[in-house]
Symmetry: C2
Subunit: 265 residues, 2 copies
């Protein structure tokens, strides 16, 4: 580290953020020494940063002495337009879809080359899903991921197509050629189907959610038992709910009359 | 500011947090100069901090040049046990309560002398509510607030009772004496009623949610039209859902058989 004020300050803010990033879905509670180890910071630095973050409410200390992410950070973070604000607009339409189907309903956005789930409603007797709110997943295997990728900028698509495509089941798309063809089909039909590409018992149907500039800002999906599922019968409900959310977000396209095309045509 | 490394570093981390705290429900998007003004930091410092926070994903810049809270901060904050993790445990029971009543269902926690709403399901034809997820409200007027206050440590109660009690409607409790009596009643009955104490058209019935140590960690409420509402008929459903959440959180009391006492007894 250089001794200039500028580099030192950058470094300290980054270190404070490293402390926060030490927490993860696998480890939502950490001791001081665990934070130090996971963030790669000396224990004295960790101690000072943790004290400041705790004083502000970014961290909270439980009676046993472990730390977890604090409510105050969650309050501030709830202002993220792609987090809670998106889900506030989407939730009524997600509830409609849930009431009609009683299946899993999920809402996700793209962050880099992955999807981040911002909301979900789990059906009680519905097929188990691997996701959690605030959690990430691969794009090429999921219905929401295929939608978000199909409408992503070309450089994002090429970057993902250039890398290895991890296999989750024998049905997962693992070649760039196959993925290109599926993405073209998604754009043609206006929705995506992931048929046993994440787990062998689940099928998802996903549709794009558009924002005020008509860009695709999120994807909505219905995840059902794969056995006997008929994507073409599920698609209209998903598309309808996705259009409702798009209209709530001010999308001009969702105000136009538009009918989905059948993939068989 | 002193020139020691320790005070400078504390100050820089605090300043970065001040930048985040400049955003609020009233202003979820800010320009650089607005952040500077609202945080009280010089423009050059603001610029540097915003650049670092943006690089990490705590802030995002929109095409017009304004900043908003970033998805990466929201992802990290979603690990807050009292935020998304609480709502994940609670949501199935909240959905049950919603399906049975089709009224507004809210979940809140105490932060200092206020309540913070961590989840809500809004009924379509239900009475309008003033809250939002991630938003704060006063304790003494709301059903969830009365529950959280009734079970709060004595010093918290005394601190709130010592201050002025803001009036929202002619029905709002505004004297410490009246509030003490209501809190005792809440503890006796096991639930709270706010009857037109926030708006003249709404009534809420709230019940405590207990954690693994049996402490009250949250409050669940049903908010309905005040006209014709019968709190004693609504309470069993709210208490039932609250017990379900408590059990999901590992509360020993929610495993015991316990029947609510009638306030009339």
């Amino acid at each position: 580290m250089s001794g200039t004020a500028s580099s030192r300050s950058r470094s300290l803010v980054c270190r404070a953020l490293d402390v926060l990033a030490a927490f993860g879905p696998d480890r939502p509670e950490l001791t001081l020494s665990e934070i130090s180890r996971r963030s790669g910071l000396p224990l004295t630095t960790t101690h000072r940063l943790v004290r400041e973050l705790t004083a502000w409410g970014a961290l909270e200390r439980d009676p046993a002495g472990s730390y977890h992410i604090g409510l105050h950070l969650w309050e501030v973070a709830s202002l993220a337009p792609r987090g809670l604000r998106l889900r506030e607009a989407a939730l009524p339409y997600m509830e409609d879809l849930y009431e009609v189907t009683h299946e899993n309903v999920q809402l996700a956005v793209r962050e880099g080359l992955e999807v981040v789930y911002v909301e979900r409603i789990l059906g009680r007797g519905a097929v188990p899903v691997l996701t959690r709110v605030g959690g990430r997943f691969v794009m090429h295997a999921t219905g929401v991921g295929l939608v978000l990728l199909a409408y992503a900028p070309p450089d994002v698509q090429e970057q993902l197509l250039a890398g290895p495509l991890e296999s989750w089941t024998p049905e997962t798309i693992v070649t760039a050629r196959q993925l290109r063809s599926v993405l073209a089909e998604v754009r043609r039909c206006g929705y995506a189907v992931s048929d046993r590409q994440v787990t062998m018992d689940a099928l998802s149907v996903a549709a794009p959610v558009r924002g005020a500039g008509n860009e695709v800002v999120a994807a909505l999906s219905l995840v059902v038992h794969a056995d006997g599922a008929q994507p073409r019968l599920l698609a209209p409900a998903v598309l309808t709910a996705a259009r409702g959310i798009s209209r709530a977000l001010g999308s001009p396209a969702a105000r136009r009359r538009e009918s989905p095309r059948s993939p068989a045509r």
